[in-house]
Structures are given as structure tokens and as C-alpha cells.
């Protein structure tokens, strides 16, 4: 696999996952703004911008949220930008991505650039993005060989998922009514149903936190996504060794994974905001380590055993 191609595939995974997660998050919160009569609209919009790390200096209202995070392709935090960049990455790796995957990304790009996201009903836009993102993800899984290239797509997807889930969890720490807020986060993660099946309809912030942070079966929990990222890195660097792990990325992901698995829930919740921003910087570091190891053509020093 060419370094350049690996990089493109990694970012396809990340951007498509980001579009999907962001569409769910915006859908849930904008619905809340419509439904809740007493909500502080300004503060809610501000906390959405803050959680997504989006630069925005104007009025904090739903229109601004839609522009910066949904349809304005010049805004690097937007869904339109994510889908366009995913398509651009596929364009540069076209001989590697399957025809079906390419056409999925390409037609989505044309839907987005034909202003289908800035229509009068944002909910339609969110549904379109969710459907297309899941179509693309499924095509990647079903039409590509599960070789190194696919591992890079899944690796990107997993790291982005850790990042986005941690940001959604962070939203609860801004909220004044935590229990209602956890419910929103569950919905934004697409996990409300799975949670109810597991914990019954109990409104417990603690249970919700446990589910989104530590559940090993729910595919958008932090623990699950960390496990998946670790598995990808292991396949990508299968050298047998008795000591340690291959490369910095595996070490960074492994440390975060141990923390998530072995800290008690109480410990995690004592500084939830701190833990979540630590996870977000971990995602940045892991991406950097992956880029250094695989995308820049740098070859890791390898010990050649045997008698000299």
C-alpha cells in the first residue's frame, strides 16, 4: 500500500464518520431547541460550537449552527466540508477504492454541492447525510477487500468515533440538567434504543455514562472504538514480538484503552470534562503517530534477529 493512498483511506474513514456523527448530534439538539420552551437558545448553540471546537464569532443562533456545522463547505467544521474532503481523498486514491465506494462518495458530493443540505427543513438534510454516510460505510465494508487499505479506513473511522463520542459526552458537562442531557447524548450517539434494551428505561446519568464510556458491546462506546482502533493497528503491524507494541500509535491507543477499561466509573466521572478532552488530544496524538509511521514513508527500524 502506498503511503499516500493509506493516508487518503484513513481520512475517508474519519470524514465520513464525522459527517454521520455530526448529523445525529445536530438533529437531536436542534430538535431540542424547537421543543423545549424554556431552553437558553444562545447558551445551547454556544455549547455546540464549543464541543465541536468550531471557530465562530457571530451570533450564536440555530442559523449560525446550521451554516458553520452543516452546509457551508468553506467552514472546516461542517458536514459539507467533511463529505467534500472525503470525496477528494477518494479521487486521489481512485484505483484503490472500489467503483461502488467511489460512486457512493461522488454522488453524495454532488447532492451536497447542489445545496441539498441548506434546504428549508434541516431534518431532511440530516437524514440525507446519515443515510449516505451509512451507505458509504457499508460499501467500504462490503466491496473492498479487508486488506491493509480497509484497515486504514476502519482505523480512521474508529479514531473519529472516539473523538466524536467524547465530544458528545462533553456536552453533558455543560448542561444544567444532567439527566436530560445524558438522554440527548445517548440519542446523538444513536444509542438510545440499545441503552434502553440493556438498562431498561431508567433515567440514570451514571448508567448512561457507563454505557457510552465502558460498554464493550455497543459499537459507538469509547471502549469499543478504542478496541477496534487497537485491533486495526495490530493487523497493520503484525510483527511478532515478546515485548511491547509496534509503534507509538498502538502505545497511545493502548494507554487510553487501559484507562477506560480499568478506571472505575466513579473515577472517570469525577473529572469527566478533563477525561474527555484528554481523549480528544489522544485522538490527535494517535493520528500524528499513524501519519508519522505510515503516511510519510518513514520506515520503522526493524530488528533482524538471528546470528550475525
Amino acid at each position: 500500500m502506498l503511503s499516500r493512498i493509506a493516508e487518503a483511506l484513513f481520512w475517508i474513514g474519519r470524514y465520513v464518520e464525522r459527517a454521520d456523527a455530526l448529523a445525529r448530534l445536530l438533529d437531536v439538539y436542534l430538535q431540542l431547541l424547537v421543543e423545549d420552551p424554556v431552553i437558553d437558545r444562545e447558551a445551547t448553540c454556544r455549547s455546540i460550537f464549543a464541543a465541536m471546537g468550531a471557530q465562530h464569532d457571530g451570533v450564536n443562533d440555530p442559523d449560525a449552527v446550521l451554516r458553520v456545522l452543516l452546509w457551508d463547505s468553506t467552514s472546516p467544521s461542517s458536514i459539507a466540508f467533511a463529505l467534500e474532503t472525503a470525496r477528494e481523498n477518494a479521487r486521489r486514491s481512485r484505483e484503490v477504492v472500489s467503483t461502488e465506494l467511489w460512486e457512493g462518495l461522488n454522488t453524495t458530493y454532488y447532492m451536497v454541492s447542489n445545496c441539498q443540505l441548506s434546504g428549508p427543513r434541516p431534518a431532511d438534510g440530516f437524514r440525507l447525510v446519515r443515510e449516505r454516510a451509512n451507505l458509504i460505510t457499508a460499501l467500504a465494508d462490503q466491496t473492498q477487500s479487508h486488506d491493509d487499505g480497509w484497515q486504514f479506513i476502519v482505523l480512521g473511522r474508529s479514531i473519529e468515533r472516539i473523538d466524536m463520542t467524547s465530544r458528545m459526552i462533553q456536552m453533558t458537562t455543560y448542561a444544567t440538567a444532567p439527566s436530560a442531557s445524558w438522554l440527548l447524548t445517548l440519542r446523538a450517539c444513536g444509542g438510545a434504543h440499545a441503552f434502553t434494551r440493556t438498562y431498561r428505561a431508567i433515567e440514570s446519568p451514571r448508567a448512561a455514562a457507563e454505557f457510552l464510556l465502558q460498554d464493550r458491546l455497543f459499537p459507538r462506546s469509547i471502549a469499543y472504538s478504542l478496541g477496534q482502533a487497537a485491533a486495526c493497528l495490530e493487523v497493520l503491524d503484525p510483527r511478532q514480538r515478546r515485548v511491547g507494541f509496534g509503534g507509538d500509535a498502538a502505545r497511545i491507543i493502548g494507554r487510553a484503552r487501559a484507562r477506560m477499561d480499568y478506571l472505575s466509573l466513579t473515577e472517570l466521572l469525577s473529572d469527566l470534562a478533563g477525561e474527555m478532552s484528554a481523549l480528544q488530544s489522544m485522538c490527535g496524538e494517535a493520528t500524528e503517530a499513524v501519519a508519522h509511521r505510515y503516511f510519510e514513508g518513514a520506515v520503522a527500524p526493524e530488528w533482524l534477529g538471528g546470528p550475525l
Binding site: L2, R94, V299
Partner: protein
């Protein structure tokens, strides 16, 4: 039955490939006419719309001023019956064989100069004659792995060669995608014709590239080298790489070290043996050519010179594309192959020849003037359309650089019905067949890219100048077809020393085995074999 063809008027003094005269359809097109006429205009337009729509979805686009446009394809196919195709196929293969022998000669001992078939200065003054390529023996003795020979049909319907492209001819991807798109858009017409397939091209190309790998490599690694995603032909590079199942690389993915070329991967460096490059000579290796090139691979040429990597097409082929050299190609065919050319050139005056120049300067307003190293219709002046001031300017430029120009009569290219707005109208077309040389045999893809000049009466057909395209259907052989006969070179023609001795009987030629049979010669097996 609709009136889709009503009022279709072939242009005067022009060969219309579908209509012999108004309402008189040529035999080969009867089926297409019947099928198209069975459609309403709305239906036809909807199908045309489908074509551009699917091309956008599939990303079959070309880059025009930074914008991605769907590659334009017309709904009416172009047909070539098998009998006419035989002339094209044999003629293109013959031409490529002669150009191959020519390149090998001029980058080798230069026998052609000693025999005064072409003046040495014509070759050495070409900006595309590269001294660095001199003495380089390409693996498999092939320099022209892929050729695209541009043909037109004159007012009698005779195919003539307009120009040769043996550097990095492009367009073959559209031949393949046009076929797939048309089979979906016009299935009825498809079912009623026996059309020769074009989908075998990538397999043939890969086999030829592998056959020309450096000696001693049993399982060569082939890559396609592209200038990058912003190149106008990037779609084609990606498609060929995908269909051949090989890597598509950019210059920065490759590393030339110690006379070998490697590709950087996530698992380290791996050797590369054959580079099907779609990067111009100038940009290929900053060590040998342009220092500022970031598209190339420093040291690539050294690796090729050491015989460790095959560059396809070879460096320095541009001299054979030179339009002044073009005027000598019929003589080169006689010289190297001992045959008469099957496909004639378009009549051409060499501006550097004082006699020719005198004839041309008097009638600039009747002729087409072409720069010898222009591609894609760049710099062409069509006399009858030019203003007085343009002609005066042209005259000054001709006199300043006579080596840089040739003149040709205005040839009325043949026309084919094309959907323009809401009616079918005659539009001028050309044809670029593609040939692949694996060192044993020159194979010509049965089909080719038909380009259409969309503005009425326009004679320059190029997608960078608003051209369209047509799916080109070569029909399968009929029992009534006759085999094409290749004439041996006329008496008095200068022949290559290897051919001269064998003029009376059988001989080992520089270009393969030639057998004479009652004035007819037939090239057996390899036109320019490895035994020599």
C-alpha cells in the same frame, strides 16, 4: 416513426458517414437509423441527458479551467464497417512499426540519414530529439508501447493520417467508458449489431508492458505514473491503473536509488520494473530535464539507462510526433518495411523548403498552417477564417521560424449526425485508434476515440476546445469482406540496407521476415523482430 432525421442535410463537398445523399442511408448505418428513428425526440434527449448524468456520477470527467465537467458523449454512435476497419488496422500497425524502426535507427546508428531518406537536420533540430536518449537500448526493443494515430476521412471517405502520437497519447479510457454508457443508453441498437468489444484493452496493455520488462525479471511490477489528481487526464490514469490492477503512483511515491527504482509503501520500499508513465519527458527526471519539475523522479533516467527499469513510452519519442517528420513518414514506411503506405498522409508543404514556402506564402488564406510541435489543436491557423491582420502576423512568424511550421490544404473532415439542441445535424469528426506494441506484434484496438467538433462547421476536434465524442462501433467481419493487400514499395524507393538484398526474393530484413508473392509482400510475425 418519428421525423428525427427529416431535414438532415449533409454538408457540401463533405463525406457524411451516414447519409450518401439526403434521405439515402449508407448500408452499415441502416440499423442505427431504424433504431434511432423509432425514438421520439424527447426520448432521445432523455437518453442523452442520461449519458451526461451517469458520467458525472461515475466521475468520468475532464478538467476544464479547474472545473470538472462530464466528458461529452453524443447519443448517435459512429459505425465503421469491417472492410474499412481493415485498412485502418493494418495501416496503423504498419505506421507504428515504421515509427518504431525509425526511432530505433535515429537513437542508434542513423542509417536513415546515410541513405538520405530524411535530412539529419530535420531530426536533430526537433526540440523533442533528446540526446540523453541516444544509445539507450530499451528492454524488449520497444519504444512505442502505446500509440494513438489521429485519422480523418477526406471528401472521398478515404482515411488519412493527420498526426502521430507516440509520446503519451490519451483518450483510451473514454473508448471503454463510452461503450458501457452507450450499451445502457441505446440497448436496442446494440442488440442489432455485432460490435467488436473494446474491454480487452487493459489486459493487452498490461501484457505488453510486462513483456517489455527488463531482462531477467520474471514477475515484473508495473506502475502507472501520473502527474496527479489535477491533471486533465487523471481520470484515465486512475482507470487504467484500476483495470490493470496496478499501482497508480505520483513522482514522490517513487525513489530512484543506485540505478533502481523503488516505490514507497506502508511496508517499506519495493522494486518497480515497468513504469507506464503519463508524465511528459520534460518533467520526468529533474536531473536530466527541467530542474524545477516536482512531478518526476530524480535519477529515473539513470535507472532506465542501466536497464533496470522500463519507461513506457520511451524517452525521446516526441521526435516521431514532430509534424515536419510526419511529412517523411510515407518514405520511412517504404524504407524500413519495403511497403507502400496503406493510410496516406494529408498533403503537406514543408515551410522550411524554399520551393514549398514560396507556394504557400502566396495562398496563406486558402491553407491550414500548423506549428510542428503543437498538440491538441494549439496554434493552428485556418487561412480561410483568418483576418488580414492575423495572416500578416502569421506570415511574419513563418518567415522567422520556417522549421516550426507546415501547411496543409483545408480538409473537410467527414461528418456524422450528432444531437445538437433538439435536432440531428452533421458535425465533423476524427478518429484516434490506439495501438499497443508488445515487441512481437502491433495490436490495434477495434474501436478508437471519435472526437466531434460541436460548433457548426468547426474543423478542430479537441475536448480542450469544446469537442464532444462518440462511441465508435467497429462491426464484426462479414463473409463478403476481402482481405486487404499490402503493396510492396514502388520501384525506385530507397530501402533499408537489410531490405535491398531481398528485393528479388526472400530476405532477412531489419524489421522481420518479408516474403514476396507476385508483387505482394506480407510481413510475417514480427514487423521489427528481436532477432536482429
Amino acid at each position: 416513426m418519428s421525423a428525427i432525421f427529416d431535414g438532415y442535410q449533409p454538408r457540401p463537398a463533405t463525406y457524411d458517414e451516414m447519409f450518401q445523399a439526403q434521405e439515402q442511408v449508407r448500408g452499415a448505418y441502416a440499423g442505427v437509423q431504424r433504431q434511432v428513428q423509432g425514438l421520439t425526440l424527447a426520448d432521445l434527449s432523455a437518453r442523452a441527458e442520461y449519458l451526461s448524468h451517469t458520467y458525472l456520477d461515475q466521475g468520468v470527467t475532464f478538467d476544464l479551467g479547474g472545473e470538472e465537467r462530464p466528458f461529452p458523449i453524443d447519443i448517435v454512435p459512429r459505425l465503421i464497417d469491417n472492410q474499412s476497419w481493415q485498412a485502418v488496422e493494418t495501416g496503423v500497425a504498419q505506421r507504428v512499426a515504421a515509427l518504431e524502426a525509425f526511432l530505433s535507427d535515429i537513437y542508434g546508428e542513423g542509417q536513415v540519414f546515410n541513405d538520405r531518406v530524411i535530412p539529419r537536420r530535420v531530426v536533430t533540430s526537433s526540440p523533442h530529439f533528446l540526446r540523453v536518449a541516444k544509445g539507450v537500448e530499451p528492454p524488449g526493443k520497444v519504444r512505442v508501447h502505446v500509440a494513438g494515430i489521429d485519422l480523418i476521412r477526406d471528401s472521398d471517405g478515404t482515411f488519412r493520417v493527420l498526426e502521430d502520437n507516440v509520446r503519451i497519447p490519451s483518450g483510451v479510457s473514454y473508448v471503454m467508458t463510452n461503450r458501457r454508457a452507450m450499451s445502457a443508453a441505446l440497448p436496442e441498437a446494440f442488440a442489432h449489431h455485432r460490435i467488436r468489444p473494446v474491454s480487452q484493452y487493459p489486459g493487452k496493455l498490461l501484457a505488453a508492458l510486462r513483456a517489455c520488462a527488463p531482462s531477467g525479471v520474471t514477475d515484473p511490477t508495473v506502475v502507472v505514473l501520473t502527474p496527479g489528481a489535477y491533471n486533465a487526464a487523471y481520470f484515465e490514469h486512475a482507470l487504467l491503473a484500476r483495470l490493470m490492477g496496478v499501482r497508480l503512483v505520483e513522482g514522490r511515491d517513487l525513489l530512484a536509488q543506485g540505478g533502481r527504482v523503488m516505490v514507497r509503501t506502508t511496508h517499506g520500499l519495493f522494486p518497480v520494473h515497468v513504469i507506464y508513465r503519463r508524465v511528459d519527458d520534460d518533467f520526468l527526471d529533474p536531473v536530466a530535464f527541467r530542474r524545477d519539475s516536482v512531478l518526476g523522479v530524480p535519477g529515473l533516467l539513470n535507472a532506465a539507462r542501466s536497464g533496470n527499469v522500463t519507461i513506457a513510452n520511451a524517452v525521446g519519442n516526441g521526435v516521431a510526433d514532430d509534424k515536419l517528420v510526419y511529412t517523411y513518414v510515407p518514405d520511412l514506411i517504404r524504407y524500413y518495411l519495403g511497403q507502400e503506405p496503406i493510410l496516406p498522409n494529408v498533403d503537406t508543404w514543408r515551410m522550411e523548403d524554399p520551393e514549398h514556402r514560396a507556394q504557400v506564402l502566396d495562398r496563406l488564406d486558402e491553407l491550414v498552417l500548423k506549428p510542428v510541435d503543437g498538440a491538441g489543436g494549439k496554434g493552428i491557423v485556418i487561412g480561410p477564417r483568418a483576418t488580414k491582420a492575423e495572416l500578416a502576423d502569421l506570415r511574419a512568424r513563418l518567415l522567422a521560424d520556417p522549421r516550426g511550421w507546415i501547411a496543409q490544404p483545408v480538409v473537410q473532415l467527414s461528418t456524422v449526425p450528432t444531437l445538437v439542441g433538439d435536432r440531428l445535424a452533421p458535425r465533423h469528426v476524427d478518429l484516434r485508434p490506439f495501438a499497443i506494441n508488445d515487441g512481437e506484434k502491433v495490436w490495434v484496438l477495434p474501436g478508437g476515440l471519435t472526437r466531434v467538433a460541436l460548433p457548426e462547421g468547426e474543423l478542430i476536434v479537441n475536448s480542450s476546445q469544446g469537442g464532444g465524442s462518440k462511441d465508435t462501433w467497429v462491426l464484426a467481419a462479414e463473409p463478403t469482406d476481402t482481405q486487404i493487400q499490402v503493396q510492396s514499395a514502388a520501384e525506385g524507393a530507397v530501402l533499408h540496407p537489410g531490405l535491398r538484398a531481398g528485393r528479388m526474393g526472400q530476405a532477412q530484413t531489419p524489421t522481420g521476415m518479408v516474403q514476396s508473392m507476385g508483387g505482394m509482400t506480407q510481413v510475417l510475425g514480427t514487423p521489427f523482430g528481436s532477432e536482429h
